[in-house]
Structure formats: C-alpha cells, structure tokens
C-alpha cells in the first residue's frame, strides 16, 4: 500500500476565511491541516494524500513583500517536508495567480513537485507557464472550484508518486512550453486535409501547434556620453579563430567563446573562420571585418566617438539557437561585461 502523500496547501487570505479590509494585508501564516477549500481538496485526494498544513497570505501582502514571503514559505517547507505543494486555485485573481506561480516555481527549485490552478488569462499564467509549471486550467471564478480541485488533486498525486503524466489535454493543465512526440497513426497530409475541410465547413478543429507570444525586451536607456564609454563587440555571427578552437557548432549553439583583439586595428582574413550555418560565409572569409567591424570601431575609438573598445570580442552562433540557450548565453556574457565595466555593446547581426 502506497504511503499517504504529505501535501502543503497555499491559499490567499480571502479563501482562507479572513474577510474585509484586513484580508489583503494579512502576513503569511501557517495552519495545521486544511482550511476552507483545502477541505474539498482533501476529499479530492481521496486518502492518497493529506493536507498536513495550510500556508495563507494576503495577496496585497505578498505583492509588497514577495521575497520575504518566499523566504518564510521556504522555511516552512523545510519544517513541514511536503511530498507535494498545491497552490490555489487562483481563477482570474491576478495577484493570487502571481503568488501561486512564484511559490510553485520555488517549490520546483527545491525539488518539491508543485501544482497550481488558474484561468488561462490570469497574469500568473503568462508569466509562469514558460517556466514549465503545472497549472491546471480553471474557470474564471470560484464557480469552478470543485472541478479545479479534482484535477489539481489528480495531477498532484501523479507528481507526488512519480507516475507518468499525460498530455496537457488529458490532464487538464495549461500548455507549459514542453512538447512531446506522439504517433498519431495518420499521415500528416491526411490530418491536414481533414483539418482544412473542418475549417472550411465551420466545424471546430484543434490546431496541433499553438504559437506562444514572445517576451518583449525593453531597450536599455541611451548612453549619456559615448565618448567616455567602454564598448564591447558581441556577435552571434559565428566568427571564430581559424580552426574553430572552441568548437562552436554551425547551429544550435549552447556555448560561446571570446577572442582577444587587443592591439589589432582590423581583423585579418585568413586568421578567422566563419562557422555560422545560416548565411553564406564567403564574404566574411574574404574580409572578416564585414561581419565583426573591428576596423570601423577602431576608427570610432581614434576619433573619440566612443571611449574605448574592449580588447575581447564575444562570439556565439545564433543559427537555429534555442531560445533558452541564447537567454543563458546572453546572461553569461552580460555578467562578464558588467564585471569588466562595459557600458555599451555593439551587436552585429547576420
């Protein structure tokens, strides 16, 4: 007989039964056993799990003191040692959804399986689905409490017991930026024409791929005085020292390299290779400055337009780059640049 899973449940103060003005500013507290909807949750767990404690916090308090709350909750987890962490469901309540998402993320980082639930339009959904969290899709309001808790409980049991998890459609969670290969048993052409006929007839159909929105990156504020700035060259063009000593691949790079250009007025053809598999490298090999314009930047340095050029260039290959890998590579290079006092970056693209 399987052990009963130790479940810790997170609720906001409203669902925890604290009413009125006080509710949003209630600091985080811990209560033994289940509170409010936690009792329904326990029923849904049907003996497979027990809510050993409930953590409760006002949404306003969480929003104002997020890091402190997270630390408190982490400390509680240390003591309570849950097998599974369940948060919400938050329905469309935005601050609640953000709180649930953040806490589930922290739980996962500590290797505690976590499940939450919210409506697809909850801001917490947009922010935390790309983190691969398991978020059960719920209705917009607490009218959908029971089915939400039932699905959350079912998924939590599977996660707690390390059982195989079904697809998003089967388990009822929101797409979490993970794809799994399936054998449909039907060739793509047949599926495609079937879908076209449904679309033509106005019948419902399900697209096999729904596109995610991409994060909008706001640009950094402009330099106050470029003539005093330390500037670095960073590129995804795959321009490397001859022989590709750091073994950058032609595509799907997961690392980067840096090359010393101190004392060079320009890049010399024959000393550099271009390994990026997405553009015709002939022009770059004939004159590497076309792709990494060291000559132009040296001119700007001499003319005092920029203060100084960093004597290392940073290189990766952007071709077919995985978004997550490029985020990490960017962060690693940026950390290095900040350490060296660089204030601006020139990014020649391909």
């Amino acid at each position: 007989m399987a052990d009963v899973l130790r479940v810790v449940h997170y609720l906001n103060a409203f669902f925890g039964g604290v009413g009125g003005e006080a509710e949003a500013h209630t600091p985080v507290s811990v209560h033994p056993g289940a509170l409010g909807p936690g009792r329904l949750l326990e029923q849904a767990l049907a003996g497979q799990g027990q809510v050993v404690a409930t953590l409760m916090c006002g949404d306003g308090y969480f929003a104002d003191q997020e890091e402190a709350v997270v630390e408190h909750v982490q400390a509680h987890w240390q003591t309570l040692k849950p097998d599974v962490f369940i948060a919400g469901p938050a329905f469309r309540s935005g601050r609640y959804g953000l709180a649930c998402g953040r806490l589930c993320l922290e739980a996962e980082r500590l290797k505690i399986p976590a499940v939450t639930g919210m409506h697809v339009e909850n801001p917490g959904s947009d922010l935390y689905r790309p983190e691969h969290l398991y978020i059960i899709a719920t209705e917009a309001s607490a009218v959908g409490m029971r089915p939400a808790l039932e699905r959350m409980a079912a998924l939590a049991i599977k996660r707690g017991r390390c059982q195989p998890i079904g697809t998003a459609a089967e388990e009822g969670f929101l797409s979490r930026a993970v794809r799994r290969t399936v054998h449909t048993g039907t060739p793509a052409a047949i599926r495609a024409v079937d879908m076209a006929l449904k679309k033509w007839r106005g019948e419902p159909y399900i697209s096999e791929l729904t596109v995610e929105t991409f994060e909008v990156i706001p640009p950094a504020p402009p330099l106050s005085d470029p003539s005093k700035a330390l500037v670095a060259l960073v590129t995804e063009a795959g321009l490397v020292r001859k022989g590709n000593p750091d073994r950058l691949p032609a595509a799907a790079a997961t690392h980067w390299a840096s090359y010393h250009v101190g004392g060079m007025d320009r890049l010399v053809a024959g000393e550099w290779d271009a390994v990026h598999g997405g553009y015709d490298n002939t022009a770059a090999l004939q004159d590497p400055n076309r792709v990494v314009p060291l000559d132009a930047l040296r001119e700007l340095e001499r003319d005092g337009v920029i203060g100084k050029l960093l004597d290392d260039v940073f290189v990766t290959v952007g071709n077919m780059g995985s978004l997550n890998a490029m985020k990490r590579i960017g962060a690693e290079i940026a950390a290095m640049l900040v350490q060296r006092g660089v204030q601006a970056v020139v990014l020649p693209a391909t």
Binding site: T181, P187, A189, V211, L248, Y279, N281
Partner: protein
C-alpha cells in the same frame, strides 16, 4: 497528334520492386530488377567531371548505412508522350505532365558524394545518413525502398558547381536507365492522374509549396533551371509527378528530396480527394529564404495573389515538405498571413524546432493568422541512436556536426536528424502535443 499538350493527363504504369541484383543484363521480372552494372556505368560515366563512380545496392532491413547522402530520385521513364521525365535536364523540356510513364515503385536511386572544395556557412552540404536496418531505420527516408546507391567522386580540378551539375545529370540518367528496363513491358497497374471537372460546390483547394532556394548546395530546379529569381507561379500537380521539380538542396539532413517532389505528400492526398471532397485546382510554387524582411513579406503576398487569382478558397501550405526550421519560417508565416488576408482558409504543415525534449519555444516566428497548423514534431525529437553496422556505403567517416571530430561511419551513431526526417515524419504520422 492525338493528345493535346495542355491536357495534363498522365498515366503511370507502376512496376513494383522487391529486390535488385547485379547480372549480365538489365531486366525486370516479377518484382526483381537485375542490373548490368557495366552498362549502367557506361550510361552514366562523366570522366571529365567524375573520376570514379561506384554503384551499390542496399535492401530494407540490411545492417547497412549509407552516408554523405545528397538526394534521392524515383526511377521512372516516359514511354509515351512528347516530353521526358525530369524535363529540363534531357533535351527539349516542354510540356510535362502528359503521356505515360513507367515507375519502379519501392525503389530509389540515392546519390552520395563529397564535394571537392571545402564549404562553410549556409551554402554547405550537411551530413545525411540512412540506416537500412536497426532502430533508426524507421526514421530515415528510403530505409523502406530498394536502393541503387551511386557514390560519385570528383575528377581532379573540377569545381563544386561543375561537380554538382554532373551529379544531377548522373542521378536522373540512372533513374531513366533503370526504369527503362520496363519500357517494353505491360504494367500490372496503371494509375491515371487528371484533374477532371467536379461538382462546383466542392471547396476549391490549392497547394502552396514553398521551395528551398538560396544558392549552390541549397537549391531547387524547375524544369532544369534553379529558382533563385523565381516569382511565384502556377504548376499542375502532374508536372510535379513528372519530375519538373528536382532537388539540389543539401543543407540540413531532414530536407526535401527529388523523390519527395515527385511523390509529394500533399499532392497525393489532394488527388485522392479530388472530386469527392475537394476541387484540386493546382499548385502554387515560390521560393522561400528570401534575403530581407521586405522580400519575405513580399513573398507572402506574391504567393497568395496567385492562389486568389486562381479562385482558390482553401490553401494547403508547406515548405521543403514540412521543413520550416530556419529563417524561411518567416516567409512561410507571411504566406499564411497573406492567404488568410486574401480570404483563403489555410492549413499549414510545419516542423517544430528547439530542444530535443521540446522544452523550448518551438516556432521562431508566427502570425496570428496561423490558426490551423499540422505539426510533424521536431526534426530530431525522440529519434533513436543507431548501433554499429556491418556495411557502410558512401564513405568511411562521418561528421554529423562541425563542432565534433569525424568518426568511424560504421560505429554506433547518434545524430540530431536522420536523412529525410521531415517527410518521413509526415508519412509516419508523427506529431507533437503539449505535455
């Protein structure tokens, strides 16, 4: 002439192939093709450009690996009609899509080679490998056909361009020579391809096919001419069946092949449903990988306007037989957008990219109009590695990535993507779901 050249009525006499062998004469009998290797070599030899041509046979299920694959071609020959198969490469080119062909079904010609001059960047051949047996075989195109493998070696001093041109001539001549063994025979089965008039109430469907064209090593030929400057145009599906599109694209092992153009998956399906559920109007072709944002947006409109002017109501859209992994995804999405905005209902077949475990955004570009998508999954997702094999055709080492050292081609091999993976995944019915 009894037949009108614009009739676009093509008969295909189908001869099944189960086995091939070398013998003293080239002969087809009961599913077996015997090949006079000396005669075939004489028919193909190009001593100015090719130093040496090897001819091998590989059967499904063998513990055999084929490396440095560049293209695969269906063996066929035109036995009646005024054109040839693969028009534009042999003699007069016009018109195609008529007459009668004989096709060896269940067979393929594979051409393998290494180019004489080194290349890098986009206009470079990528390693492409076929395992005929073992766990990777189901994911390789042409692991289920009996293959005549032509391993070509460049003559000293020949340029990449001249060698490439010779490779096309050699593989297509081989196709015609081998199918020619059946020229005087009566086919057991004759398939007829014709877009006869149908119930006008059926939805008018066009196939919008984005071709791969960037330059040498990454090109598609239309009637013998590369498509670098191609503006979108209309072709009849029979022209595709007849070999009007020939592949010269060696980037990314998952790519399209000449075989995948003559055996195009969407063309076959639309023909199957013509008159029953659809009114198949024809095929709009254009090239992807346009060089700027402006040209990519323009490309979408140039494709869509042909479809619209044809009176199409529905557009089935694919690129490189499902290959939408690079910046051509932008041209592809622009085409979907333009078709939808011109009032066509679209369904697009595409691949996904990103991490093999799928935990990364899998599409690099999108438009809100792309609401009906069929996915074949990611090119290398969840495909098995292969064990060592007994026989290797085409070379002794492989280098699946420039970041790694070349290794023994006969040893265990894990590659990101086996040959023809995208069209194979389309045929197999692989897809991906949110999990």
């Amino acid at each position: 002439m009894a037949q009108d050249a614009g009739a676009f009525r093509l008969e295909v006499g189908v001869f099944p192939i189960h086995h091939m062998t070398f013998a003293s004469e080239t002969r087809y009998q009961d599913g077996t093709l015997s090949i006079d290797r000396v005669a075939l070599l004489a028919a193909l030899a190009e001593p100015r450009v090719m130093a040496n041509l090897e001819i091998h046979l590989a059967h499904p299920g063998e513990a055999c690996r084929i490396v440095h694959v560049l293209d695969t071609v269906a063996p066929m020959v035109k036995v009646q009609g005024r054109s040839t198969v693969y028009p534009g490469f042999f003699g007069t080119t016009m018109p195609a899509g008529n007459g009668r062909n004989h096709l060896l079904r269940g067979a393929a010609i594979i051409v393998c080679a290494t180019f004489p001059d080194p290349t890098s960047g986009a206009l470079s051949p990528a390693e492409a490998t076929i395992d005929m047996g073992g766990p990777a075989a189901p994911y390789c195109a042409c692991s289920d056909t009996v293959n005549v493998v032509l391993v070509c070696h460049p003559a000293p001093g020949v340029t990449n361009a001249d060698f490439d041109a010779a490779l096309h001539r050699v593989k297509l001549r081989a196709a015609v020579y081998l199918a020619g063994a059946t020229a005087a025979l009566t086919p057991p089965v004759v398939e007829t391809y014709e877009l006869h008039p149908v119930d006008p109430a059926l939805p008018r469907v066009v196939y919008v096919d984005q071709l791969h064209q960037q330059g040498l090593m990454a090109q598609t030929f239309l009637y013998g001419k590369h498509t670098q400057g191609l503006e979108p145009t209309l072709i009849h599906p029979n022209e595709m069946l007849d070999g009007a599109l020939v592949n010269g694209n060696y980037r990314a092992p998952g790519r399209a092949a000449t075989y995948a153009h003559t055996n195009n998956f969407i063309v076959r399906e639309l023909y199957r449903r013509h008159g029953h559920e659809v009114n198949f109007l024809g095929v709009v072709i254009g090239r992807g990988w346009q060089d700027s944002q402006m040209l990519k947006e323009r490309q979408g409109w140039m494709m869509a306007r042909i479809a619209r002017l044809l009176g199409a109501q529905v557009a089935m859209i694919s690129a490189d037989v499902g290959g939408t992994g690079g910046n051509n995804t932008i041209d592809f999405m622009q085409t979907i957008k333009a078709c939808e905005q011109m009032g066509l209902q679209t369904v697009a077949v595409m691949q996904e990219s990103g991490n093999p475990d799928g935990s990364d955004p899998t599409v690099v570009d999108f438009v809100p109009e792309a609401s009906a998508l069929v996915s074949v999954g990611g090119i290398g997702w969840h495909t098995p590695a292969a064990p060592a094999v007994e026989r290797v055709i085409g070379g002794t080492t492989v280098q699946p990535s420039i970041a790694e050292d070349p290794r023994d081609a006969s040893g265990p091999l894990a590659v990101e993507c086996w040959y023809g993976a995208i069209w194979k995944r389309a045929e197999l019915g692989l897809s991906a779901v949110d999990a």
